[in-house]
């Protein structure tokens, strides 16, 4: 019976990948977009707004005030609300990075000088990122945003950097619709490393 497992696994994997592909095609058609960089640019802009909003939402001031001035019931309510907001914010961040990756594969699919090793590394990086991001979502879900305030703060800083990187990347992909803001390179924005 154990000799059948590879065949069973292969057959089921094929059907699962097929469903994934068809589902993705339906979603893509529904959204009526095939990775248009201009649209990504607008979503990149929204990262900024979202980052500013998140800074306000996750800042320590509100929690300090609530914990000092309100009863425990209100504090619990506050924590519940902020957990939902933190999760929404992390999901949004995941979406933004996914859009960068999508923009990359659109260019890569027709690229003459595509390097297989680079593609594999990028794909692996992306999937690792997704795993880590989802883990963080789970962590926030379990512990709440108040106990993970430090993380949120760091995430906000990262989002600002990410926004710059998005702008730079979109300017590379579609310079006709993007203006490179200043002459600041990605390395400078992320810090030389």
């Amino acid at each position: 019976m154990s000799q059948l497992l590879p065949y069973l696994f292969l057959g089921l994997l094929l059907l699962a990948v097929l469903v994934w592909w068809v589902w993705g095609a339906i979603i893509q058609r529904g959204a009526a977009e095939v990775l248009a960089p201009r649209q990504h640019r607008s979503s990149v802009r929204s990262v900024g707004l979202q980052g500013d909003l998140a800074e306000r939402i996750f800042g320590p001031q509100d929690w300090d005030f609530v914990s000092r001035e309100t009863p425990s019931e209100i504090q619990r309510m506050f924590q519940r609300e902020r957990t939902a907001l933190a999760l929404a914010w992390l999901r949004r961040m995941r979406l933004q990075v996914s859009q960068v990756m999508r923009a990359h594969v659109v260019v890569a699919q027709q690229s003459d000088d595509l390097q297989l090793a680079t593609e594999m590394r990028l794909a692996l990086s992306y999937f690792l990122f997704l795993i880590l991001c989802n883990s963080l979502i789970g962590w926030v879900w379990l512990h709440g945003p108040v106990r993970t305030r430090k993380i949120v703060g760091q995430t906000l800083q990262w989002a600002v950097r990410l926004r710059a990187a998005f702008e730079q990347l979109m300017a590379t992909i579609d310079p006709a619709s993007c203006r490179v803001v200043g002459a600041i390179s990605i390395t400078e924005r992320f810090g030389a490393k």
Partner: protein
């Protein structure tokens, strides 16, 4: 009786598929695919003749021709490969590398099997051989579909139908033939009908999606993006690396 109904329905649908393609003049657009369908149609008619006139020879004839049908099935794979990836030079490079990996794995299995005497030897049943051939097709299909999904390569209705239909059939065949090769499962009547039913479902998908010609969407020349791949991949890599290291750092807190 049920088997006979399935058989005749399959023959009728294959004939309809080929007749429609010839009538609507898009047979030549998917030559390899229609070569496969026509071959299977001829095989079915031959089988029926043998079944009617030489019933004792039918089981052997069936497995021999089934092996042939599985071999001709690679024409469908070639059709998918040629149609889906012909305008995506980057994706073709990745596909070629992955297909070479699969070929190397198959060669390794054959060599190991030959040395140990447990691989694809002539002593094995035709069902086992077909199962292994279908398994290889499933692996190739996985590569093609994964590339289409990963690189978001747009496909027309016809090609989508060919891929979905054939994948359903190959996936069902791999599982069915796997179970069917077990001593306890093969003789069961229910198992004998799974593959023909899957094939009938495949033919239904093909009839529906290949009723008229729908070519693959052409890339819009106005929005064609031609950029330095290295620059772009470096930037994407950097963003992902930063994002990942950040998340790793946060996860440890």
């Amino acid at each position: 009786m049920f088997g006979q109904v399935l058989w005749w329905t399959e023959i009728a649908m294959e004939a309809l598929l080929v007749a429609r393609a010839i009538g609507a003049k898009f047979y030549t657009k998917y030559t390899l695919f229609y070569f496969y369908v026509s071959s299977v149609l001829l095989l079915e008619l031959f089988r029926f003749a043998v079944f009617t006139n030489l019933p004792n020879s039918y089981p052997l004839f069936y497995w021999r021709t089934q092996f042939l049908a599985a071999t001709v099935g690679y024409a469908v794979m070639l059709q998918m490969y040629a149609q889906a990836l012909r305008k995506c030079r980057g994706a073709v490079r990745v596909a070629n590398a992955l297909l070479l990996c699969i070929l190397a794995a198959v060669m390794l299995k054959v060599i190991v099997g030959t040395v140990s005497g447990s691989g694809w030897s002539t002593g094995e049943t035709m069902a086992t051989l077909e199962r292994d051939m279908r398994a290889l097709q499933a692996a190739l299909l996985l590569v093609i579909i994964a590339l289409l999904a990963y690189y978001k390569i747009p496909t027309g209705r016809n090609l989508t139908g060919i891929i979905v239909g054939y994948s359903c059939y190959v996936g069902a065949s791999v599982v069915t033939l796997g179970f069917g090769s077990l001593p306890g499962f093969g003789p069961r009547p229910a198992w004998r009908f799974v593959q023909p039913i899957a094939y009938l479902a495949t033919l239904s998908i093909w009839c529906f999606t290949l009723w008229s010609y729908h070519p693959n969407p052409e890339p819009d020349p106005g929005s064609k993006i031609e950029r330095d791949y290295k620059l772009l991949s470096d930037q994407t890599k950097r963003i992902l690396s930063k994002a990942r290291s950040y998340l790793k750092m946060r996860g440890e807190l």
